[in-house]
Symmetry: none
Amino acid sequence: MINLDYRDKRPLYEQITEKFENLISSGALGADEQLPSVRQLAMELSINPNTIQRSYMELEKKNIIYSIKGKGNFVTSDTEAIRRIKTENLMTDARNLALKAAELNVPLALFVKEFEKSYLTARGDARDD
Amino acid sequence: MINLDYRDKRPLYEQITEKFENLISSGALGADEQLPSVRQLAMELSINPNTIQRSYMELEKKNIIYSIKGKGNFVTSDTEAIRRIKTENLMTDARNLALKAAELNVPLALFVKEFEKSYLTARGDARDD
DNA sequence: GTATGTGTATTAATTCAGTTAATACAGTTA
DNA sequence: TAACTGTATTAACTGAATTAATACACATAC
C-alpha cells in the first residue's frame, strides 16, 4: 500500500502523509475506510511506530482522516474536498512551471511532449482519459 | 544582492546557490563578472564563511562559476551552459509534476490545457513556437 | 472478567545534515 | 610587507527526524 523512497530527502512522515493524501484523493481509499494500524504499518515498513503516529497526526490536523481510540484511523467522509484541494495545488504548480518555462524561452511543444511522455509512462502507456 | 529567507526550509547554501543561478541566467551577473568574496558576503549576510564557500563549490561543480585562488570567483563565460542547466532542471520539474498528475488521476488534457494557457499568457497571448 | 487488538502520550537516546568556529595555508595585488 | 583573495581541515554545536521503550485508555471478542 505504501512504499518508502530513501533517496527522497523529505522526512519519512511527510512521504507517508503525502502517499495517503494521494491514495484518498485518487479514490483508492474510500470514505470511512480504515487505514492500517499504527503498529502494523510500522512493522510492514520496518520503521518506528512513532513515525506512523506522526503521519496520522498530520493527516488528522488536515481533516483528511479521523481517529477513534481503540478502533483505528479512518478516511474522512468528505473525500471530494480532498480531491479538489490536491487538484488545485497541482494546477497551481502547473501554472508556475509554465511561467518559468516561458521566462526561459523553452519551447512549449518540447515541454508538453516531455510532460505527456512521463504521464503516459506512469499510467502504463495505454490510457488517455 | 542576496537575501536569505529563514522561513524557507531548504538549507542556506542551497538558497544562495539558487539565487546566484538566477542572477546569472537572467543576465544580472554577466560573463566573467566577479562574485562577492566568501568573507565579504558571509559578513553581509551574518552567516559563516564556510556556508558561502559551500555554495560557491556547488556553483563551480555545475560549471556556473570558476574560481581563481587569490583573486575571486567569476561567472563562467559559457552562458549557454547555464541555460542548459536551467532547462534541464525545468524538464525534471515537468516530469515530476506529470507523475503526480498521473497518480492523482488528473486528466492529461485538463492539465496540458492549463499549462498552455499560462505559458501563452506569459508570452503575450500571441506566439506559438 | 481476560486477552488482544486499537489510538495516544511521554521521555530519552540516537543519528545526521547543516552550520558555526577556529585555523592554517596558498596565491594576488598594492 | 600588508591586506586582500580562495581552499582545506578539524572540531563542536544545533535542530529535526527517527528510534526506543513504556505507559495508559478504549474497543472487541472470547
